[in-house]
Symmetry: C2
Subunit: 592 residues, 2 copies
């Protein structure tokens, strides 16, 4: 059995040295958190993860969940684990203290969430969704709904779900058919929803479904979608779960991975109609969903980081143990000494650190966007958050595929045997580029709403900041490369941005054809930028004699590896982008 | 249920127009085959595949195989399917008529094998291994062994296996422990072998194991390995299977994919020792295995092509059916109209055609190396075959990962649900970069035995041939790109070759660090070269008014797409290679 060890030193270095958590906490509104507590919080979370969640990862994969007469039965051990999780107060780490949360900075919550996701992705999807649903209710729900639901959800006594997809309406929410109609102080709903993660289970006393549906007078398309809160059990006068609502899980999916996370087909209103409560105004459902997309998409990007870290650790440990070379004297050595294995491990390590750094940097923007006193500055931080979100989701989850793939590759034949567990990471990771908007959807968001809409302004601002880091890198020779790779990548990104602004409106297919290469280019650039910042900070500490020299030297070497071996990929994406839509669209449909 | 349709027009165009099958057949020794029969053979194979093998692909994945008291029970329906397969004479298509085979060109056998592998990879591994084992016996076995075994194996009445790996000896065969000792006119063997594909089952009357073991007087390391033929049942005087040998399957692996292919732990000699027969001379086992590696590795590369084709077809069919866009007038359209979906399908199509073309070109070299009258020319064809083999195995199987991945991506959420079957292709494909030598092993073979050993001569010869194609491309504007992408890729490959020849001996780690990027660079180049040859041939036909114009135009467009969107990846591999071993080896083991 492989043990997951949280990379605490790595995370602390990133939060404290690179992202300046302490300064963040000194800002107005951020005082509540004493950054010195960070090591204790991370260590406590890591302990719970190792002792309780890690052991259930393999068994949950094997056992999966079952649909019985009473609904979904989660995998054995999960209920008890969930109890320990919420008893520790982990569910409400970043939620407002008004509802029993601990009000910690988003960045700290993010670092803790990585631990859960590394330990057991299937399990940790449940709190991930609850937190997202609670955030949405806190933002858009009426005071009454907030009072009735949020305490329970923040504590984790009740869980939450998101109900968007229907059999004929996935990416295209305009085709959504679930109906809602008013009845007294509430609504009734009827319809079927699919792909509902943790849509049913017995880990919590109640499940709060957030459901997109159409009101009778709704305009056609996405402008006619409203959002409803539909509890599994209707709260009684005492606030406790009472009568069962008219909804049920009628099937669960047999999936490639995350077997312990029930993916439900939910049926609403088979009888008199499920009782639901409108959230916010009618027909605003999509906009409301969008406000929580930043955090949900970042959370999925973080899952990419987390599973990459887990897979990397397992490959590294295997490579250190596996004897598979014989010296001329007959003695044997481990495979970590083979250059190609070392190359794969370096790739996994560099990619994972780059993903983490970029994802955490985006998470910090959410704190800045909330805490910075100046409104204009807050706006800029929010724009950066908006810009980075599809990149974090799209690029980190794509790169996580490669890292989990290489983990299997390091294992050789054992990588294909389920017993080792490394194949599970590969299977689990596969969902990440699909749910919460596929990679293609992230890329369209990046191109459309985040680049073309503001004329490329947020992108220019980001490039200017990268340029600042790059100037320092070019002036120093801390890395021995003087920023050559990063310079080429930044130049490529600038050319790509200019090309897009010029061509995307002229050629309607162009934006769609080049969006994924564009996003991947920016992801690699962002990762290279963050690793450069980390390396420069490491050099600073080395110069002043602070910190662990071996760790700091490795930071520099990892950055150099990334710049030499991963950043060059940006050139291929640029060439692909510059080719535009021509050969992508040239073959007629019947010649496929 | 997705139906697989063999892309016969595509394959015929490649064999007849691009690879000149007819000319090949006119050569001495090749006369036996009338190239006009090709369409009939392909259509017959495709019919059997569709009717018999395709329906068992999903059920085989679900049912898997079982280890019972009597040995391994293959998946339901497989025995009957196998019977139909061998009754059709398909097992001995390319085998010598001396043993009941049909003596068809290797290239034709290769084209037919693609069909089996697309239809049902788990099933088709059984004949793949039988054919490899028969080839080895035909090359190295004594006349007596050939007489006793080959007819049965060529007909497929008996199957064959390869027994190399042991728990402590995978890539490092020097560590092999299975013992053999002489006894009368035969040997006895004792030891355990793992990862034995189709090591036990009940589809055939006998199973012929080829087993690597050490004789008592064997030198240490790989120079002390001998090869033995060890039948499951010892043939009686009548030549039919008689007494059971002292061997058994003691466990089967629970794998990520190819569930219907039993991966066995084989135990030899638990009692008095398993009876075996030495093949060739003592201590020559590894060399003997190597002579069959070209065909085995090409066969696995072909599996990459085959599963990519299968996954591509499924994604294409889904994209054509799946309504997921709404026009302003409320009507809906299918996702194949989305530019990013079109980009993914084009990538899959172009990659699959490029892989196929390169793999088939290598297979044709095996025919040339056998049939060309001039010995020196034969030598050059053999050198090309040797050069291309690790590229076909390494690059095609790596690219097959991306194609099967994208097939899931096109399916969106349905790509993660096992029911659609697209996830199975992804799981099945995952073995391809591992078995028959991992990607890293292929790359080391390419760098060491195929490049450094002959001072880069075979590579130069290949580049010169690519240069010839390129000159034609640059002189015409058939593609509208004048070969820009291919020129850059060829230049990159030349720089990479020169760098390797200069640095690999000076820096011992360099070859290992850069080998995979080097191999991938050459693979993309080779694919681009073959698609250019196809496109030029298409233009020729268009100019003369032959053939289906729409098909020929699509050939050109597909080539252009590949040159614009896949060839640029070569630049990233070149940059990575030129960085050498520095940052790959810089981080000490304890900092991982």
């Amino acid at each position: 059995m492989h043990d997951y060890i949280h990379p605490q030193r790595e995370v602390e270095f990133l939060l404290q040295q690179v992202l300046g958590l302490s300064q963040l906490c000194q800002r107005e509104g951020g005082e509540a958190f004493d950054a010195d507590l960070l090591p204790v919080i991370l260590a406590e979370a890591a302990r719970l993860a190792s002792e309780v969640l890690v052991p259930l990862n393999r068994s949950g994969d094997r056992d999966g969940c079952r649909l019985g007469a009473e609904g979904v039965e989660q995998a054995p051990g999960f209920r008890e684990a969930y109890r320990q999780f919420i008893d520790g107060g982990w569910n409400g780490l970043t939620a407002s203290s008004a509802f029993g949360g601990q009000g910690l900075p988003n960045l700290v919550g993010f670092a803790v969430d990585e631990i859960w996701q590394s330990a057991n992705m299937a399990f940790s999807l449940c709190p991930l969704l609850t937190q997202g649903a609670a955030e949405l209710i806190a933002t858009h729900g009426s005071d009454a709904l907030q009072r009735e639901y949020l305490h329970h959800m923040v504590s984790g006594q009740w869980s939450g779900t998101m109900n968007l997809t229907e059999p004929d309406a996935g990416t295209d929410l305009a085709a959504l058919k679930t109906r809602a109609w008013p009845e007294g102080d509430h609504y009734r709903l009827s319809g079927q929803k699919i792909f509902i993660t943790w849509g049913d289970h017995r880990m919590t006393d109640n499940i709060v479904h957030l459901v997109l549906a159409r009101l009778p007078d709704a305009p056609a398309g996405v402008k006619g979608i409203s959002l409803f809160l539909v509890p599994k059990y209707l709260p009684g006068k005492d606030g406790e779960p009472g009568e069962a609502n008219d909804l049920s899980c009628i099937a669960i999916e047999h999936k490639l991975g995350i077997h312990a996370s029930p993916t439900c087909v939910m049926s609403y209103g088979d009888h008199e109609g499920a009782i639901g409560y409108l959230i916010g105004e009618p027909h605003q459902g999509l906009a409301q969903m969008f406000t929580m997309m930043n955090s949900a998409r970042q959370a999925v990007g973080l899952q990419g980081v987390a599973i990459a870290e887990r897979a990397y650790q397992q490959a590294r440990d295997y490579a250190r143990q596996r004897l598979q070379g014989t010296r001329p004297d007959g003695s044997r050595f481990t495979i970590i000494h083979f250059p190609d294995v070392r190359r794969m491990l370096m790739l996994m390590k560099a990619a994972t650190e780059a993903m983490r750094a970029l994802a955490y940097a985006a998470a910090a923007e959410a704190d800045h966007a909330r805490l910075v006193p100046d409104a204009e500055q807050r706006g800029r931080h929010y724009a950066r958050l908006e810009l980075l979100t599809p990149i974090v989701k799209g690029w980190c989850t794509e790169l996580a595929q490669e890292v989990t793939y290489l983990a299997g590759q390091v294992h050789g034949g054992m990588g294909y045997i389920e017993e080792t567990g490394v194949a599970q990471h590969y299977r689990d990771a596969r969902i990440l580029t699909i749910y919460e908007g596929t990679t293609g959807i992230q890329a369209l968001d990046l191109v459309g709403r985040k680049t073309l809409l503001d004329g490329g302004q947020a992108l220019s601002d980001w490039f200017a900041e990268i340029e600042t880091t790059l100037k320092v890198l070019e002036a120093s020779n801390a890395l021995g490369c003087r920023g050559v790779g990063l310079r080429k990548a930044l130049d490529a990104a600038r050319v790509a941005r200019a090309w897009l602004l010029e061509n995307a409106t002229r050629d309607p297919a162009a934006a769609g054809c080049v969006s994924v290469p564009f996003m991947m280019l920016l992801g690699y650039l962002g990762g290279g930028w963050m690793l450069a910042r980390a390396a420069l900070k490491a050099q600073e500490q080395l110069d002043t004699g602070e910190g662990d020299a071996a760790f700091l030297q490795a930071k520099k070497a990892t950055c150099l590896f990334y710049h030499e071996h991963l950043l060059p990929r940006t050139q291929g994406y640029l060439d692909s982008l510059l080719a535009g839509s021509g050969s992508v669209m040239a073959v007629p449909e019947d010649q496929f």
